[in-house]
Subunit: 261 residues, 2 copies
DNA sequence: CGCGGGTATTACTCCGACATAATCGCAAGA
DNA sequence: TCTTGCGATTATGTCGGAGTAATACCCGCG
């Protein structure tokens, strides 16, 4: 009799079920979990550039998923420049220079494990270049609405601290409003990625210990400069803000290393 | 006789066959052609944010492709933040703020039709911020090998002009070598996107008329400053280079508008 | 008027087969 | 011996259909 039986997914959920980071909790679909699994494996260096992924059939069987779902996950990685597929040659990990490091999801994968210190340094160098420039543009182009949004985010940051999720949300809101105030779509897209990364580092800082410094005054200085329309002042204020954030993150990472040893 | 007959793809190749831009000429697979078709339709504004794509079954039938290939194409768009899919709600185009504007493929789609002047302006503002900073880093960190590569690219630019493909390749080589000299992975990833965009604008410039200005001297000034290790000088030289490129592109676009009218 | 459950619609996952394209080895020829 | 081309191999690519799961929408109930 043609009994339609589901393949025994119960036998081995495999690597796709770790509930915290991977797995498909909260709307994330199966292909998303597969992409996350492969993505972290590649970004973390567990699968090195040039290496070949095992064939679609074998790999999809190993993960207990259909070939179609597996292929869709690989398409996602391909779209982000992590891998490339050719008939007969298989699916190979591309050199790092091809990776879309600013893709929010790639950043998430990079911060899923222990982030590479060099990578964090590079990221902050980019922030140090871009964010002050954005602050200047915001100071020159902001309108009433921009200022209102930033103000509301600031009060939110004051009420809750960065230790709470609400506080971090307010922090993101502030940066987001600042970006919109610059009125440059490309900058916004770039900064959205940076914001994503900043969010990860913020979590990282909190993980090791309570943040010793109150970040609100620094944000206020940037805000004031933008309200005044003083571009130079905004640049300076933002530079110090990024520098301080960098110091805090570095300190947190060293502290984290310490307690690990 | 079980004669294996191909489904009549000959009847209607549909929109996937325009040979110049879309279509799968040169290794591009079917799903690539679909992604290109949908991507340009979205980026060009023919399908507006919030709009719903017709269902998978209907759309894949309309394009004469299987659902699997169509779905894989949609995954690519999803990975670049252009669309999002939910059961019952369908696949909807996301607001522009979610788009990954710096993704090389998205940039290609944006320049496939007539590029939006505002978008080009935003792009050059980003270049004006990032590239001088990269030039400074390159001046401070370059090694012998970096200089050698840049020198070779420069001679290539001198030999062929920007009118030839070889010349444009040399131009890309120069910028690429400069980026590597900065020794910052994230900057490289970002700049790879920018380079891609620059390439499109360069083609655009060439399309309308011969470039009136010889770009080599500007590049040489940047090169000299980097060789000397003079960061400030490199910043200044790169700023003027970007500014001139912006002027040329704007002029070309206006010229192009003129002859269209 | 608000609210909870049923329903219809849509994407999601699975399966199995066949098509296509690169690569490698072998053989024929210079 | 070296080169060239052809065919076998093996990977990804494409296809069609069937069944599952999730959710927006509507309708009836309180």
């Amino acid at each position: 009799m043609t009994e339609t039986v589901k393949p025994d997914t119960a036998s081995d959920p495999g690597v796709l079920s770790t509930p915290t980071t991977a797995g498909r909790g909260s709307g994330r679909r199966l292909r998303g979990a597969i992409a996350h699994y492969l993505g972290t494996a590649i970004v973390s260096g567990r699968i090195q550039p040039g290496a070949r992924l095992t064939g679609e059939v074998a790999n999809s069987e190993a993960l207990n998923v259909s070939r179609g779902a597996y292929r869709e996950a690989v398409q996602v990685l391909t779209a982000k420049g992590l891998v490339a597929s050719k008939p007969k040659d298989g699916t190979r990990v591309l050199p790092r220079s091809n990776w879309n490091l600013l893709d929010p999801m790639v950043l998430a994968w990079a911060f899923a494990g222990e982030p590479d210190p060099g990578f964090v340094r590079d990221l902050f160098e980019l922030r140090a270049v871009v964010e002050p420039a954005v602050a200047r543009m915001a100071a020159e182009r902001r309108d009433k609405d921009d200022i209102r949004k930033m103000k509301r985010a600031l009060t939110g940051m004051r009420r809750h601290t960065l230790a709470t999720e609400a506080g971090r949300a307010a922090d993101r809101e502030f940066h987001d409003a600042l970006l919109r105030a610059a009125h440059n779509e490309v900058m916004m897209s770039l900064a959205a990625s940076i914001t994503s990364a900043v969010n990860w580092t913020t979590i990282y800082k909190q993980r090791s210990r309570a943040l010793p410094r109150d970040p609100v005054p620094d944000h206020v200085r940037v805000f004031d400069a933008i309200v005044e329309g003083d571009g130079e002042k905004a640049v300076k204020a933002m530079q110090t803000l990024v520098d301080l954030a960098h110091e805090d993150t570095t300190a947190a990472m060293e502290d984290d290393d310490h307690r690990r040893i």
